[in-house]
Symmetry: C2
Subunit: 376 residues, 2 copies
């Protein structure tokens, strides 16, 4: 374990866990959702607003940050958190996921990956060692190993090859010195093959990671396949380490995975969907563009206490969206982040009370009914 | 005078006035700067943030609002202020300025103006009477008369014809019943011709307006011409009514005009320039895009207490601008609105102390020096 980093499970409800991660920069109660600040900004939203949504950690993307503004500028500025005015923990990914999504523009060998930037076409090499060094410069509280991410459509043999390479890279990366207090998480690959996943989990279990993640899910596979893998693998992950399901997901995905014992999540959905006009509400989603809201005096979600719902009506939000006023992107983002913040806060409280499955079952009822029942 | 609306001059410093406008929705200390919320939103900024910048009133554009979302929706929502979550006074223009900027797409007769919308090309008629009725539906605290705005390049004879038509329209508009408590301001035209301006002022002085504005300035004429007109005409405007210089301007313009006795201003500059990366600072302007700020750990303006300067460094703001993160547009807008808010607040304090000209002379010194001197 990295000095200054610790994890404790405080309560359980079935396989679901209520935990606490401690980092030098602050505590992270789990289950935790990490809003995504790809380029050192959660789009349209200030760090203060992110914090008020209930998030205690956010994620930055190494692929983007190493190119603009570059990891050295961020190190000079005191690290990612300080650079962006977020005075709490951060997690950085390794850049691998974005690199592998470049398709033809990436070449992978045992040495690492060579890719041409989507920004200016320049050739960039990302070795496992460099992925750690860049994240060390970014100064995140939790760094992620560089892993090979095969496409969701990959054959079992290709998945195994990627998995074995990921293990080899993992060993090399643990040997690289990081900035003091920075934890390093390993990533379990294996696609939708439970057997491969468990095999890879065993390989990584022996290594001295501070936490383990499930990578390569929510990449186009049927949702049942993802649930099958998570429910089969998550409960078998080390009990004493945080378990992180990368890039997931919808509120339903979070509830499913928390029920299987996952502790951490990140996803662009709350902010990206907001920018498309979509708001997460209990019982579904609404799109504020729709004509049915043109004269609707209700808040985005009746009963919600977020700053958007407390101050603005649907007819106003729809007007802003229809005329292209950027304020609405911010307001919907804030609402959606609150929705995810309320989900994880509610899950934590329910696990403490030993009734997580009831909480999960009730989540999709309209908010008034949830309030009546006294749910968190 | 409209019932519920009043104006009082509290102090003078030379021609500069420290006043107080009272409306049913709240008080407006003057000199006052009105941020522009064209389409019921000050771009990127919440009403709460606008208020914290020091503004006590904001402006909505009738031309835009009557088309989207339409004045009836806004009336249904309780008026412009309530619709947008701004619980303080608002002023609406008449739509004339935007209509006349449509050029070939507008036809003007004594009856009113007929134009084709810039949005969908539909033909819309705006008579003087309708301009009042629409603003009555919008429910602003201060409505403006529809006036004819000749281009800045217009000949003296054309300016006089527009002026005379504006007078005729003004009389017709005073006869239209407005929503209770809504004040109506007249607009003095006359281009850059001081003689015409004074003549038009005399014509409007006799009418029962709650305030008078100078329109048709800052429309492309040399800055000296505008200063000449303002300094010659403003001191002769009725002392007992608010004086409003429309669509102006830079911080320097405001200081000049306040010195001539102007009480109210509106302008898109603080927010529009912010969206181009430009920040107003004491002693000039800076553009955050510039490479010189790439590694600059200073706030946008050292010494400034606005939320942008309190929390973010130039190197971070520049990064956000260069990668296209919308958060920076909001942060720069907040800073610029604070700059205008500080200017008007400082002017009010200086007028009370009888030293407005010293205040105006000191405004362009760097902020540290202003602080040292104990300026407001």
């Amino acid at each position: 374990m990295t000095e200054g980093f610790s994890f404790e499970v405080k309560a359980r409800s079935g396989d679901a866990r209520r935990g606490l991660i401690t980092t030098p920069r602050g505590e992270i109660p789990t289950p935790a959702f990490m809003p995504v600040g790809t380029r050192a900004s959660v789009k349209g939203v200030t760090p203060e607003e992110v914090g008020k949504s209930g998030a205690s950690i956010l994620l930055g993307n190494t692929y983007h940050l190493m190119q603009r503004p570059g990891e050295n500028l961020i190190r000079e500025a005191g690290g990612l958190a300080r650079f962006m005015g977020w005075h709490r923990p951060t997690l950085t990914d390794s850049g691998g996921y974005q690199v592998f999504s470049l398709g033809d523009r990436v070449k992978v060998t045992d040495a690492g990956v060579l890719f041409s930037s989507h920004i200016d076409g320049s050739r960039i090499e990302l070795t496992p060692e460099r992925a750690v060094l860049v994240q060390s410069a970014l100064g995140s509280d939790i760094a992620m190993v560089l892993d090979e991410c095969p496409p969701g459509t990959a054959e079992r043999d290709d998945v195994r090859r990627a998995m074995d390479r990921t293990t080899g890279w993992a060993v090399r990366q643990l040997a690289v010195e990081r900035t003091p207090g920075q934890a390093l998480f390993g990533i379990v690959q294996g696609g939708i093959h439970v057997g491969l996943r468990l095999e890879h989990l065993e390989a990584l279990r022996a290594l001295d990671f501070d936490g383990l993640a499930l990578g390569g899910l929510s990449v186009g596979e049927p949702i049942e396949e993802m649930y099958k893998v998570v429910s089969a693998v998550a409960p078998k992950m080390p009990v004493e380490k945080p378990r992180y399901l990368m890039g997931v997901g919808t509120p339903e995905d979070l509830l499913q995975a928390i029920g299987s014992g996952i502790d951490m999540f990140d996803c662009v959905m709350p902010t990206r969907n907001a920018r498309n006009g979509q708001a997460f509400v209990h019982g579904g989603r609404i799109n504020i563009k729709q004509a049915q809201y043109a004269e609707d005096p209700n808040p985005l979600e009746p009963g919600c206490t977020c700053p958007c719902c407390a101050n603005y009506e649907r007819r106003y939000l729809r007007h802003l969206f229809c005329v292209g006023e950027m304020l609405v992107l911010r307001l919907l983002s804030i609402h959606n982040l609150h929705h995810y913040g309320a989900l994880t806060a509610g899950a934590r409280a329910a696990i403490e009370q030993g009734r997580f499955s009831e909480f999960a079952a009730a989540w999709n009822e309209p908010l008034e009914i949830i309030h009546e029942k006294g749910q968190p």
